[in-house]
């Protein structure tokens, strides 16, 4: 018998029934919610007269709309204040644990799940947010869902969902200095395309993933959806188990050993059958920067901007150039920036802040550049301050903020103005994404963002590491 993948094993363990539509009714082990995509879901529950089936399996926090400078209530933004009040009312009424602004567990939903040990191997996880794939780093089947599906999970702890195929992506060799997890995933998306993952779960592996820390694996899995894959994951291993040991929601003592035995059992078998296999050589990956309006439009920092004719969709590339205002054939190196943003569920964990601080230490942000560091959670902020990272950043002229999604999608006051160009450690360079319809986003690793902030333009971070 052919070996099974982690995807197959977890799927089968969580299958409740095959529905009349042919979809699977899949049990959801952990449901995470935030303030943005949930309010109408609770309204629909009330309309239908349903309760929350497993309230102890849902946890809530606030991240998208929270100001990262002054967080006193009521918020200046009346709509944001109303939305947070609606969430507070809903979690109170339905008996759901809530990590609010005053909690030391508050933070970006995809940062706090792993940090608290709620995210574990061998579970299914759903959240009304497309970057839920982040949790796949733990060998979790994690689905980003819409509001009506949030309603279904609240009312039944299940989803009506179709099975995916599995594509194994091997990243072989070792990453050169100055090349980070962010560069790995940007290159996977560049190679396979922004819709290449449609219908697939991505299983990431190979020597590079094996050696990565959990935080690096989370960065890779986070952007699976940017490659069109609803689900991305890494098989759990000793790195996973050691990360989880001792965390708040992780079992202790003999129960931990039993948990590890279960976690090991869900990993893909050595002879697992995949629907597709792709190989990437780490040695060929450079520090990478997006130049266009989707995350697949990226180049190595030493490359020149491609010609539209080089793409299968030249019109799409022309539209990107029209918005960004660059010329094909120009170098990406030296592109001027106005704003630098270190943060988001992709790159706001302690190791990301350390990487950026290493570049910023003893230097100054270039004149006229607005530079922000936004930790992914209250805990990340505390840990970073214990190490003195905040002092490195503020001495260099970066603003040191409170935890939240911030300028990744600009639902709080942190946003671009006019045609500003932002060097950003976030995940999306879509038109208007960072809050200004004319704004422009260059995605890159946190170290590259820090280097861009110091120079006021795109530079090669490897110069700082030589």
């Amino acid at each position: 018998m052919a070996g099974r993948t982690l995807y197959d094993k977890i799927w089968d363990l969580h299958t409740v029934d095959i529905l009349p539509t042919g979809q699977t009714q899949l049990f959801v082990g952990l449901h995470l919610i935030h303030e943005i995509t949930t309010a109408p879901a609770f309204d629909m529950l009330r309309e239908k007269g349903f309760d929350v089936a497993f309230p102890e399996r849902t946890f809530a926090t606030v991240d998208h709309i929270v100001p990262t400078d002054v967080r006193t209530r009521p918020f200046l933004d009346v709509q944001a204040e109303e939305l947070i009040q609606v969430l507070e009312k809903n979690v109170g009424e339905f008996g759901i644990d809530f990590f609010g602004l005053d909690s030391d567990r508050q933070g970006i939903v995809h940062v706090i799940g792993p940090q608290l040990g709620l995210t574990q191997p061998g579970i299914t996880l759903a959240c009304g947010d497309s970057h839920t794939s982040t949790h796949g780093a733990f060998g979790t089947l994690a689905f980003g869902i819409g509001t009506s599906q949030v309603r279904d999970v609240l009312a039944t702890q299940t989803l009506a969902i179709d099975r995916l195929k599995v594509r194994r992506i091997n990243v072989n060799g070792a990453l050169p200095p100055g090349v980070y997890a962010k560069d790995v995933i940007l290159n996977i998306i560049r190679k396979l395309g922004v819709s290449g993952g449609k219908g697939f779960a991505y299983e990431y592996g190979g020597a590079v993933l094996d050696r990565m820390s959990m935080e690096e694996r989370m960065t890779v899995c986070n952007m699976s959806i940017e490659g069109g894959a609803l689900v991305g994951y890494v098989n759990p291993d000793a790195t996973t188990f050691e990360f989880l040991r001792g965390r708040e929601f992780v079992p202790k003592g003999a129960a931990f050993d039993r948990a590890v035995a279960y976690w090991k059992s869900v990993a893909s078998d050595a002879g697992a059958r995949y629907d597709d296999v792709v190989d990437l050589e780490a040695a060929n990956i450079e520090p990478t920067v997006t130049w266009g309006i989707n995350p697949g439009q990226a180049v190595g920092v030493s490359e020149k901007l491609p010609r539209p004719e080089e793409f299968s969709d030249p019109d799409g590339a022309r539209k990107a150039y029209e918005h960004m205002g660059w010329n094909p054939g120009a170098p990406i190196l030296g592109t001027p920036i106005n704003v630098a943003f270190v943060g988001s569920c992709t790159n706001s964990r302690l190791s990301d802040l350390r990487a950026a601080a290493k570049i910023a230490q003893g230097k100054r942000v270039a004149p006229g550049i607005r530079a922000l560091v936004v930790p992914g959670s209250a805990e990340v902020k505390t840990l970073a301050e214990k190490e003195g990272l905040h002092k490195i950043f503020t001495a260099a002229g970066f603003e040191w903020r409170e935890a939240g999604c911030s300028m990744c999608l600009a639902m709080n006051p942190d946003r671009l103005q006019g045609r500003e160009v932002c060097a950003s450690s976030s995940n999306r360079n879509f038109i208007g994404r960072q809050g200004s319809p004319g704004g422009r986003t260059l995605l890159m690793s946190p170290a590259m963002v820090a280097a861009a902030a110091l120079n006021g333009k795109v530079v090669d971070v490897r110069e700082y590491l030589a």
Binding site: A39, A80, G146, T147, A155, Q157, S195, G432
Partner: protein, 204 residues
């Protein structure tokens, strides 16, 4: 399921939005997600492409009087990529779009569309180009999408369209509004949960 929830047919004129990889941030900018209900989403589809900073109209198919009242949307590849915001299909639906025909759709977007009873169906590159040209040149053309038979009829002819069979069944059976169907299985849900070791915190 009740009869009114069965969705077997969408008919009407079509509106054309060209381009691949149109993301949900473009379909509805994030600032409108601060509203606590979907009630006003119909005012916002493609907002930043339709209005300048002063609120003045920009050229966009959703502003073009020739498409006014259209209920079918023609798009290209990977439509609806990016954020999982259901506000995107809600905005289109509440604007008056009740079916989307395109080359391909992003996974979460297509799933969200089914969940609100809006079919997304696919046709080939040449077919969508012909459909787009037809509606651009003769916007009064009427289209009838038969979800049961997976075909699109216009100008006295029919072409096949495709969609996942599970989505087709959910729409024509009326089980796209899935909570009731899932909730009827709560005993089985509890039985499945009881077998998962983590549900009892790995107690021996």
């Amino acid at each position: 399921m009740s009869n009114e929830s069965k969705i077997t047919r969408v008919a009407g004129r079509a509106i054309v939005v060209r381009g691949n990889d149109i993301d949900t941030d473009r379909i509805i900018p994030a600032r409108y997600l601060k509203e606590a209900t979907f009630a006003r989403m119909g005012d916002y589809p493609f907002f930043d492409e339709r209005f300048d900073a002063a609120g003045k109209l920009k050229p966009h198919p959703f502003n073009d009087p020739k498409y006014k009242g259209a209920s079918v949307l023609f798009v290209n590849k990977n439509f609806g990529c990016g954020s999982s915001r259901e506000h995107a299909p809600q905005a289109l639906y509440r604007f008056g779009i009740h079916a989307v025909v395109g080359e391909s759709f992003a996974a979460i977007f297509a799933g969200n569309c089914v969940m609100i009873g809006m079919p997304t169906v696919t046709v080939g590159e040449h077919e969508i180009e012909a459909l787009m040209r037809l509606s651009e040149s003769r916007p009064e053309t009427s289209f009838a999408l038969d979800i049961e038979a997976k075909k699109l009829t216009y100008d006295g002819k029919s072409i096949p369209v495709d969609m996942p069979e599970t989505y087709r069944k959910a729409l024509v059976d009326g089980s796209w509004d899935s909570t009731g169907m899932l909730r009827a299985n709560l005993d089985k849900v509890r039985a499945t949960a009881a077998k998962l070791p983590y549900m009892s915190d790995f107690k021996a």
